[in-house]
Symmetry: D4
Subunit: 178 residues, 8 copies
């Protein structure tokens, strides 16, 4: 993470402290908490494939309701693809833009729209990190206080619509993320 984000966090209001804490503890799970000393493994939590499909379908339904032609991508905390679905008529740029939004959201534990609004456009910034994209439309999936996946949507004429579609997807599994 960067100087730019660091400054952003430093100037954040108290109201966003919970989110800040999330960014400061981005882990599958706390490996030191409940591991017996000397164990060579750590437990982690991943989004299930079933849940990924539920998110994608809910997002695609919302996109249809809003008559948007989008692509949805879900990546896990290692950056590996969990799901891609390209909607009918979605543009050729949508797979990569959705993927990068998902990647960015799971990397920093925040919605890409929120992160992007804090970037001034000057360089250097975290926007220089390969694989990232700070346009609205990416949201993190959190479990146990840590991001375990990112959902990215691309293709609507405004990032805010992309984000609303991603949030609709996320809502489908809310409450079952332990």
């Amino acid at each position: 993470m960067s100087r730019t984000l660091g400054r952003l966090l430093a100037t954040a209001s108290l109201a966003s402290l919970a989110v800040t804490a999330l960014a400061a503890a981005p882990a599958h799970a706390a490996p030191t908490r409940d591991e017996p000393a000397g164990q060579a493994v750590v437990q982690s939590v991943t989004l299930s494939a079933d849940a990924a499909l539920e998110i994608a379908q809910a997002a695609m339904r919302e996109a249809a309701r809003q008559k948007q032609r989008v692509t949805v991508v879900i990546v896990d905390r290692s950056g590996a693809t969990r799901l891609v679905v390209k909607g009918d008529g979605a543009g050729p740029q949508t797979e990569e833009s959705a993927r990068r939004k998902a990647f960015t959201a799971v990397s920093f534990g925040k919605a890409t729209g929120e992160l992007g609004r804090s970037l001034t456009g000057g360089r250097p910034s975290i926007a220089d990190i390969p694989g990232t994209l700070f346009l609205a439309g990416g949201v993190p999936v959190a479990s146990g206080g840590a991001p375990i996946a990112g959902v990215g949507v691309g293709g609507a004429p405004s990032g805010d619509i992309d984000e609303a579609i991603a949030q609709a997807g996320l809502k489908a599994v809310a409450g079952r993320l332990r």
Copy 2:
């Protein structure tokens, strides 16, 4: 698509509403319009190879008339190459710049020059999406109200000349795009 473009659309005049609608409905064809319920396929429309060659030849003739040494690239709505022709003496950067202009035009359903003029230069913006280039010289090919291909031209000393060459190509098939 991005916050930046979203804002751009929000502030667009009524006169450009038709174009805005085009951007908001970027599809090969409307899959829900005339598909029987339950059908697993959607109809789409693509530029024919013959038309691609006609566009390229008309563009190359215009480039010769203007004594410009350019490359012309046409990509379809999936982002796949339909045509590339590199003019005699065109620079080594022209294939990729023409390709990206074509890709950008078919992605957003507008000329790249128009899109580029709306970008302020600040980041983040849609210019961060991989594969795009917002210099003038890319124009969309539309059919049935949706972009089906993009024509990109690179190599002239000004993007406006590149765009004029691309438009000359497009003109060769105008009226036969249904």
Copy 3:
């Protein structure tokens, strides 16, 4: 397509002629059939996003039934991704192997297992073409006598199981491919 496949087709029995014809006419749709002379566009048919999701879910159910941990990838006739879903615990090699099987099936209009059995292992062969993989587990989705998409599955300990899972996915939309 290659000398190797050419020979394979030349020695194929009459029983496989229908399939051979499919390979010889791999198109979204026949552009010359019903296009008015001079039209600059051709109609094509693509698998819908809904159908892609149905295929993926049916394939994942079959994988669960067989206790296999696999990834399913669907690509369209332009080679673009339509869907990826990585099952819980599927290996890191499965996304790319499933993608290449899907790509190969839609490229040649046949199941990858059938194609692979015809390759002798000598080089040069069509197995040298970038993006292909001739292990069983890829099946074409055909409409109107032409491949419109490919479904690829990777991760089971045998390609035959991968193919059975892909076929189970395909079955979910059979009869609705016009």
Copy 4:
């Protein structure tokens, strides 16, 4: 996985059945075993960074003892890098060869030497899958009956020495993998 490996497994002796079962159940953990119905997450197990460092150091000690100049790479079950250490004077090819051995071992849940001995050299085979390398020197790290990481070593004049060095690394954490 491929027809080739399928055949290999089919002809494997009873003695190797345990290993075969491992290959047939390659997962971080069994997600259906202890997840409450409806949960959107699955538990998985990863090698800790401390354990990765212990493996690397033990492997480098063994390499020094055998006067070999090698690179050690550890990747997790998602294919992501956990550790790379390039020994003094190790060749430029060793990073990628060690990485691919590690990737192959964690993908198929077996030592690359064992897998490689079963390949006849004919194509197509699993050796065509991108990212794999079937030379000896890669060993899987298993926990709970499933591969969670791969350790790859490259640089010795024989793959058997590479494998012995990898095994020496693995030994350092044996018994603590639960």
Copy 5:
């Protein structure tokens, strides 16, 4: 060039000596022939963009006549793209296979079919050189005894048909290559 091709040339009959000489003198033009001593530049000859378009159109006409759906690629002696045209309904693998056939033909100054028939399938061979493909369908364009471009065709069910289409293209400019 490789041991394999070396052997091939060594055993070639006298009848093919002219072709062998071509392979042994692959140059844009003879730089020592007419350059004043001390000149820092050499003259070379390239296929014109007009000629590239003529070749492509003649090849596409032949493909239509044979009812084949193919892609045609032309590359120059530096390996740079001069022309790509993807026919209606051509498969997703055809752009890269046609490109590699064109690249191989201009690299070795012979038709890829002829080169491929001389490869035994054993490794190492020139088929290991990146960017090459030794399936029939690539033909060199020669001027002044040296290859100046390569024409590659991919998509027909047999490499021999691909080559016939490429030859039909080449014929369109024969006699005007000086």
Copy 6:
């Protein structure tokens, strides 16, 4: 070329018109000037390998004189590498930075320092074209009024020193470029 450069050219003083003309006519040679009608080939001029070596050695001598540790790259008008030499102790970034400066100089027919001074830093601009770098240190090699190669130097603590080294190289062949 871009709107940005277009504007730059539009506002250039008369004194720079010769250079502007160079940018507007970037070709190996004028193909229409002296080709018999119907010829399928065009003559072009390339820097000889001997001249490339002379340039590199003169540049390296100048670098030694200035106690700079640099890499020199020369590319031709097709973008292909003609020469790379990495000086003793030159940094790992120098090969790519020198290559991009050379590529940019031969693409636009001007020194990269001059081009870069005209860029305002706003986006979009020609600096977005892949493969370019607008830091000082790249100079074009021109023959017959057109750029035929680019020389790029990277590694000195200031781009102006890099450019002086490139110019020292160029001087070694000046007067022999016809």
Copy 7:
């Protein structure tokens, strides 16, 4: 190096001259100092693998102390990887961001935080050079007055914390770098 950095160095105070000299003399070792005339080799100094492991472990201990989840990467003066270790729960963007910080530090012989603070955000600048990243968290390892390796850390919510972790690693070998 760029105009931007050049200007930065030109305006630097006397106090930073030692560091400037370091940037101006970035070499493994001085090849002209003690090589007999005519020798074809130069001596250079590299960080040992043991030292790389010591640095990584010290950095990981500091990260644990600060409860940060980071990745540490060390590259040598040729840009080749010496070490990567990804901490438990570190984000997917950390491997590449740490690698680029290490690359940048060894390229320019300064901490990335210091370099980044001197960049104004305008383009063109050295931030356009491929492989670089000018966020804090990268520090050079120097020996004999020249950078021989770079240590990069990524993953903390502020670049200053990343840099403190990198410095803690460096401290572990300080005094033994001759």
Copy 8:
């Protein structure tokens, strides 16, 4: 290194033992020999840029004498480029084939022709390692019993001629490699 090469070494005659030992001890220099305990650095030896230029020029002279049009590439023991020079009229495949031969020679410390003759063509083998090419034309540059660079030549109609050209280059610095 592989099982295949291991076997090759095992069956090598006594006469080749010196070379075998070279392969078994591939290092810049022996780091344990003369380093004070606890030192964090190791000394290594690299080919000087001057020597690289001398090798390239001698190789190009030999190529001219044999009327061959080739590319010469030299890489160091880290795999980084030291020199590339592409001869007039050399084919587009020659840069990459020469680079891979150089890479292979410095990786395994033997001529690529010798290594290639020992490969049976079966897979898996060391020919599967990325970046390698086992065609004749690559020779190692050794100093102090270890490979410090590789010289690769590509473009002649036979690998044996490529190798002779590489050896002529190497001869130019023989006796000055300490």
